[in-house]
Structure formats: C-alpha cells, structure tokens
C-alpha cells in the first residue's frame, strides 16, 4: 500500500465521522429548538455545554455540533501527521507540524 492510500485510509474516516456526528448534533439542536420554541440564538460558552446537554438545551447541541465541525479539518492534519510519523517521512512530519503551528498562531491572534 502506498503512502497516499494509507493517508486516505486514515483521513477519510476522520472527515466522515466528524461530519456525521456534527450534522446529527445540529439536527437534534434544530429540532429541539423548533419543538420547544426556546429563546436565544447565541452559542454557549465551552464550559456550559455538558450541563446544557443534560438539560436538553438546543443551543448546547448546536454549539457542540458547530465546534465539532470546526475541529474536523484540524483533526485530519493530526491524522496525516500520525501516518507520516509511522512512515518515517521526515519531510512531511515537518510540513504537518508547520501547518499546526500556523493554525495555533492564528488561534492565539484571534482570541487575544
């Protein structure tokens, strides 16, 4: 099996499951929101998500779905990195780390 095929095998399930779970969470959130006619449309802070899920708060479901969607492309960079590490493909280990570092810088610049 070539490296390209191995990459596809690792990356594809990450994208698919990330997508499916986040869509399911958003659908539940939308259905709950429409059924209960709950107030507010703003996303929930990170720390309030678990309690919100227990209370069946539609916004907690929607926020978790959105977060998971945002994280999915990042998760596949980690997935690719794991393949390059296993293959001892030094050049692409460095490339993946460079991408992760750049995203980290963006996150830091964005949250300040």
């Amino acid at each position: 099996m070539s490296e390209q095929e191995r990459l596809c095998r690792v990356v594809q399930p990450i994208l698919r499951w990330g997508m499916m779970i986040s869509l399911a969470l958003m659908l539940v959130g939308l259905a709950l929101g429409i059924a209960t006619g709950a107030e507010g449309t703003e996303i929930v802070p990170l720390e309030d998500i678990p309690s919100g899920l227990v209370e069946m708060d539609p916004l907690a479901f929607l926020t978790l779905g959105i977060l998971l969607l945002i994280i999915t492309p990042l998760a596949r960079v980690f997935g690719a990195l794991s393949v390059f590490l296993k293959e001892r493909d030094r050049q692409f280990v460095l490339v993946s780390i460079a991408v992760l570092l750049a995203v980290t810088v963006a996150v830091l610049l964005g949250t300040i």
């Binding site: 958003m26 449309t41 999915t72 960079v77 460079a98 750049a102 996150v107």
Partner: protein, 280 residues
C-alpha cells in the same frame, strides 16, 4: 429566526455547497450575498455563518474525494503551510486597507484567472518528468470517475505554488472568501495538477483556511447557532450532490463553468467596490 426562514436558507445554501464541491471553492461567495442581500442578515453574522458553511462544504466534499483518491493529501498539506500564514497576514492587512481598493484588485485578479482558464489547455506530465526537478516528490495518481482511466501526474513549480497559495490565503483572510478561486488555477496552470485533482485538493485545503477564521468568530461570540446549523446542513447536502455530479462532467465543461463563475464574481466585486450592490 422563524423555522420556515431557516428551512429556506438551508434549501438555498444547497446551491452554494453544489457549486463549491464542483469548483473546489468554499461557496462563501454565494452564501454571503444570499444572507445579507436576500435575508437582511448583518454582515458579521453572515461571514461567521458562511465560514461554518465553507467548512461543511469542504468536509462534505473531501469525504468523497479522498475516498476516490482525487485529493492529493501531501500537496494539500504542503500548500497549507503558506495559505494559513497568508490568511493571518491578510486578516491583519484588511484592518488597515480601503475596501474599495481591495475589491477592485480582487476583481482584476478574477478576470485574469478566468482568461487563463479559458485559454489554457490541460497538460498532464508524467511523474518522471516532474519528480527530478524538485527535492520533494508530490506526484500522485487517481482513476478518473468519468473516463475510468488511471491518470498519473507529477507536480512541478513548488516554490511558485507555495508563493501563490500564500497570496490565496492572504486574499482569503483579506476578503473573507475560501481562496479556491486562486488555488485551483494555480495548481492547474503552474503546478500541472489535473483540474479534477486540483479541485478536490483545493476543497480539502479550504477546511483549514476557514477554520482559522471560524475560531476567531467563535471566540468573539459572533456565531448565530441556528443560522450556522441551517447553512451547514444546506451546504453539506449540496456538496454531497455535487461530488456525485462531478462524475458526469468532463474537465472541459468544468473549466468553462469555472470561467463563467469567475466573470460573474468579478462583476459583483466591481459593483460592490462602487457601492452599487449591497455596500462594500
């Protein structure tokens, strides 16, 4: 927001996902005018929701393209090094530059890309031709879903590709688009990547570019949860259909549609620059 309005937004966003998957772009160029002009949603909220929709298009399309082997994962990661840095720089510049200048510059770039798309004939290099030029081997192959033949290609012009991808990332941060409009022609024209592979690879990359912006919007609490969900569900559905439709279009058709899209967007950008449509 009314459930019916959300449903309508989701349905209309299907078109953004469809075009996004077929052209290798995020679809933000459709989502933003749709939300701001069609539904009177404030620009910031629209951009936030659009970024979420762009990630959904990218991920939805990539799931299929990666499975088909159309996506060149190594090439994507290689170019992502410069798109991410570019998008940070772009976002920082955007704060200090006059929007009219930006819109005009961008529309010029689009017209240029469209002309290149129409004039250029696709060239396919064999991996042996290109591999010897660079120290990094990015060659790849895929089975064309329409012709059912194996296409092998080498990737050349790595430095040029990296530089232009940086520009693509910068425009993305600067103007809030996915950057696929620059990446696809650059990969095809400068790096000799077949259009279908370039489209799939660009789609794959856009997820990481949009993620950068989306995190900032999330951090500032600028995302409307219901709107984002409606847009994401719509674009995902469109991307799902689009990745299946791609098998029925030849590369030449894709190229023509792409050029038409570039001209339309360029026209819209000029209108926006002069405040004739939606305000700049």
């Amino acid at each position: 927001m009314e459930p019916l309005v959300l449903l309508l937004i989701a349905l209309l966003c299907i078109s953004a996902g469809l075009v996004g998957a077929l052209m290798g772009i995020g679809g933000g160029l459709i989502i933003i005018p749709l939300l701001t002009l069609g539904f009177g949603i404030p620009m910031q909220e629209a951009i936030g929701a659009s970024l979420i929709g762009v990630i959904a298009t990218s991920t939805g399309a990539a799931t299929r393209y990666v499975k088909q082997g159309l996506t060149n994962v190594r090439l994507a990661l290689f170019l992502e090094m410069s798109t991410t840095i570019g998008s940070i720089v772009g976002a920082l510049i955007a704060v200090y530059t006059d929007q009219t200048v930006l819109f005009l510059l961008f529309s010029m770039l689009l017209v240029y890309s469209a002309v290149m798309m129409v004039r250029h004939r696709e060239i396919i290099f064999s991996p042996e031709d290109a591999a010897c030029n660079d120290s990094l081997d990015l060659s790849c192959s895929y089975v064309d879903p329409k012709e059912d033949i194996k296409v092998s290609y080498g990737v050349k012009g790595l430095r040029k590709g990296l530089a232009y991808s940086g520009v693509a990332g910068m425009l993305s941060g600067l103007l809030g688009v996915g950057g696929g409009l620059v990446k696809v022609p650059v990969m095809n024209v400068c790096m000799n990547v077949p259009l279908k592979a370039a489209t799939a690879t660009s789609n794959f990359m856009i997820g990481v570019t949009a993620l950068t912006g989306a995190v900032i919007f999330y951090g500032h609490g600028l995302l409307d949860a219901y709107l984002c969900a409606a847009v994401a569900l719509g674009t995902f559905t469109g991307a799902y259909i689009g990745t299946r439709a791609v098998a029925h279009y030849s590369t030449a058709q894709l190229r023509k549609w792409f050029a038409v899209l570039l001209f339309i967007v360029a026209f819209t950008m000029v209108m926006k620059a002069f405040g004739l449509w939606g305000g700049a």
